[in-house]
């Protein structure tokens, strides 16, 4: 029976029975898509399984990757340069060669502690790490995030395509929060407790939609979006 179980898990793209250490909550959008797909199967509309209506892209496999920045950049190895910076890392090795990337969206959720710690509305900077150095290389986003909002979506499709084609280039991202109007975070020195509160209050995840051409052959030549 263990061999049969292993075979079925392999067919599902898993090496062993998963035992997730931390069960992250399921976003409502994923539950909604799941329910829509159940309806599609029940009514025999299998083509709908190859298109994610909610995101407007072809795709039959949706993954929500957890941030593993704390594992990839442990404190004892890398000195985080600034209190309000946080390393993000997503292990994308499970994406196979048969899958075509259709959507990659970084979701950032800032808890109230992030705002309370800095006592300000915030500006968010997301930067790409391109070499193993403490300073990030390429800024991807600079956006004002008012206190009332707290959620930010960043399109990372091109970045994830590059990571997927060249896994060694995936060194992660740096997220930086700055009080609004402050250009250099190193000017202000925050107490360590404030820094820890801030880092713990931020939740980052990466939603990736891929299309397996073997399973959805009719979608292999989908029309490109008009610019």
């Amino acid at each position: 029976p263990q061999l049969e179980e292993a075979s079925l898990l392999h067919f599902m793209g898993l090496n062993k029975v998963p035992s997730p250490r931390i069960a992250q909550p399921v976003p409502s959008i994923l539950m909604k898509i799941f329910q829509e797909r159940q309806k599609a199967v029940a009514t025999g509309h299998y083509r709908k399984l190859c298109y994610v209506k909610e995101f407007g892209v072809p795709g039959n496999l949706i993954r929500l990757f957890q941030d593993q920045g704390a594992l990839f950049y442990p404190k004892e190895v890398v000195q985080v340069p600034s209190c309000t910076q946080k390393f993000l890392f997503f292990n994308l090795s499970v994406i196979t060669q048969d899958e075509q990337l259709m959507m990659a969206k970084l979701d950032l959720r800032l808890g109230l502690n992030a705002y309370n710690a800095l006592q300000e509305d915030l500006e968010v900077v997301v930067s790409l790490i391109q070499r193993r150095a403490p300073q990030p290389d390429q800024k991807l986003l600079l956006r004002y995030l008012p206190r009332s909002q707290g959620i930010l979506h960043v399109d990372l499709l091109d970045v994830v395509k590059e990571w997927n084609s060249n896994p060694q280039s995936n060194l992660g991202l740096v997220l930086e929060l700055l009080p609004k109007g402050e250009n250099n975070s190193t000017v202000t020195i925050y107490p360590q407790e404030t820094c820890d509160n801030w880092r713990q209050s931020i939740r980052a995840s990466l939603m990736v939609v891929t299309l397996n051409i073997k399973e959805c052959p009719r979608f292999s030549h989908f029309p490109r979006k008009r610019r």
Binding site: L30, I33, V41, Q66
Partner: protein, 114 residues
Amino acid sequence: ATLPTMESASRHLCRRHQMVINFEDLGWHKWIIAPKEFRTNYCKGDCPFSLMSFFNSSNYAFLQTLMNSRTPEIPKATCIPTKLSPISMLYYDSDGNIILQHHEGMVVDECGCG
């Protein structure tokens, strides 16, 4: 007088039987988020050559049965799934990532001889 005999024989003929897959029974409930269970069928029963045309049989099944009559090492056609459909599953992997995927061939809709 022959009716009861035919009824009892037909009980053993190839057909689908309802089955509920419960992930808790399999010990998979800790990582499969949804569905918790789903309904499918299994195929069971005989495929007598004289009645195979009633059982959604493939041409190959007829040929295999003919071959069996001449070469007994080749098995007779058996009762197998002939129509399958997918289900969507939402689950955690070992890294705690959430995955939503549809898996082909998880539900048996029809059975036949093949």
